[in-house]
């Protein structure tokens, strides 16, 4: 079964810091980082009115569908996508071929600035995810679930 995504405190803090900084530097409304399988990893900015779980799942669906289209025309994927709305726009970038960086912004900033700042954040995130993969492959870190008992699992379902 493919490689599991595991997140540790140290990398999580770094990732959150990159997303926070990108929100400010790009003057964006919201920044999300989503796993390609639809799991939300991090979010920054004005997230209070957004259903972040749904956003993550739909982002992954969209990226997967566009990836399918890309392959049909002989491309590997479309690493950058821009969707322009009447008020808010959305920019998606694939980072390190396994996560998607989503930036939502309005007319207080510009597409050019957003793209520029994304480039920098994307490079930083790539490095963090590389170290995360190395760490997860390293020895000594087992699944936190190795110790759970059948009773623990049963207890989840006892209403």
């Amino acid at each position: 079964m493919g490689t599991q995504l595991v997140m540790y405190e140290e990398e999580f803090t770094k990732i959150n810091a990159v997303c926070d900084r990108l929100t400010k530097d790009a003057n964006a409304k919201v920044v999300f980082l989503v796993d390609k399988n639809g799991q939300l990893i991090s979010s920054a900015g004005q997230t209070q009115n957004i259903d972040t779980t749904s956003l993550a799942s739909l982002t992954a669906g969209n990226v997967a569908a566009m990836g399918g289209l890309a392959k049909l025309i002989g491309e590997n994927e479309f690493p950058h996508q821009f969707h322009e709305g009447a008020k808010d726009s959305l920019y998606m970038t694939i980072v390190g071929s396994r996560v998607v960086l989503v930036v939502i912004f309005d007319n207080r900033t510009s597409l050019g600035l957003v793209r520029l700042r994304i480039k920098k954040a994307s490079d930083e995130l790539t490095k963090i995810f590389e170290s995360l993969v190395k760490k997860a492959d390293g020895p000594g870190i087992g699944s936190p679930f190795a110790e759970i008992s059948d009773d623990d699992i049963d207890n989840l379902f006892s209403e």
């Binding site: 079964m1 599991q4 799942s57 699944s143 699992i153 989840l156 379902f157």
Partner: protein, 195 residues
């Protein structure tokens, strides 16, 4: 492929409901959505056509509670059942942790069941998964219909390995939670093994 976050102490798993067109995958999710407490579920998202046929997927996030201090979340997805949406079906299987195959018990749909199960096996193999190794349960839906085949007949064609299977009438909820609990348990047991 589950996502374990040690920092926020969360674990997220993905379960996909698969099966032929109109077998009741979306109805399963709708019943689960209607019967779970508001604080344990997110929005039910349905990307469907104007005639309410699933176009891309349905999505329902569910929280099950905590295991050893880790919040366990399950993301339930359905695939579009209609044969010509195969490209979309493949995408939804990416990163799957557990599969529910929803079979339509009606005798007329037996061929569609077999075709869909074969399609599931092929599409999983394309993503590098083996259905025989994945947490997987079967639901025989529409048990209330007069033209339903016997469970013995369904088992013979669809469940030769005798994996956990359940009889269901999805609109009234019969068997819906039993199916979900069974697959969720298998997924967690797989995680325990370090899958």
């Amino acid at each position: 492929m589950s996502f374990i976050n040690y920092s926020s102490r969360e674990i997220n798993c993905k379960i996909v409901y698969y099966g032929p067109g109109l077998c009741g995958k979306t109805t399963n999710l709708q019943y689960i959505y209607n019967k779970t407490a508001a604080d344990t579920k997110g929005k039910l998202i349905s990307l469907s056509t104007e005639t309410d046929r699933t176009l891309f997927f349905d999505f329902l996030p569910l929280s099950l509670g905590e295991i050893r201090g880790f919040k366990t979340r399950f993301h339930l997805y359905t695939v579009p059942g209609q044969v010509f949406y195969d490209a979309s079906r493949k995408l939804i299987l990416k990163g799957v942790d557990g599969v529910v195959f929803v079979a339509d018990s009606q005798v007329e749909r037996m061929e569609a069941n077999i075709e869909s199960l074969e399609n599931l096996r092929i599409n999983l193999a394309e993503q590098g998964y083996d259905l025989n190794k994945l947490p997987y349960v079967i639901q025989y839906n529409k048990r209330d219909l007069p033209n339903a085949l016997s469970v013995a007949e369904l088992r013979q064609s669809l469940n030769p390995r005798s994996i956990p299977d359940f009889e269901a009438v999805a609109p009234t909820g019969v068997g819906v939670f039993d199916t979900l609990k069974a697959v969720a348990k298998l997924v967690l047991t797989e995680l325990k093994k370090g899958g």
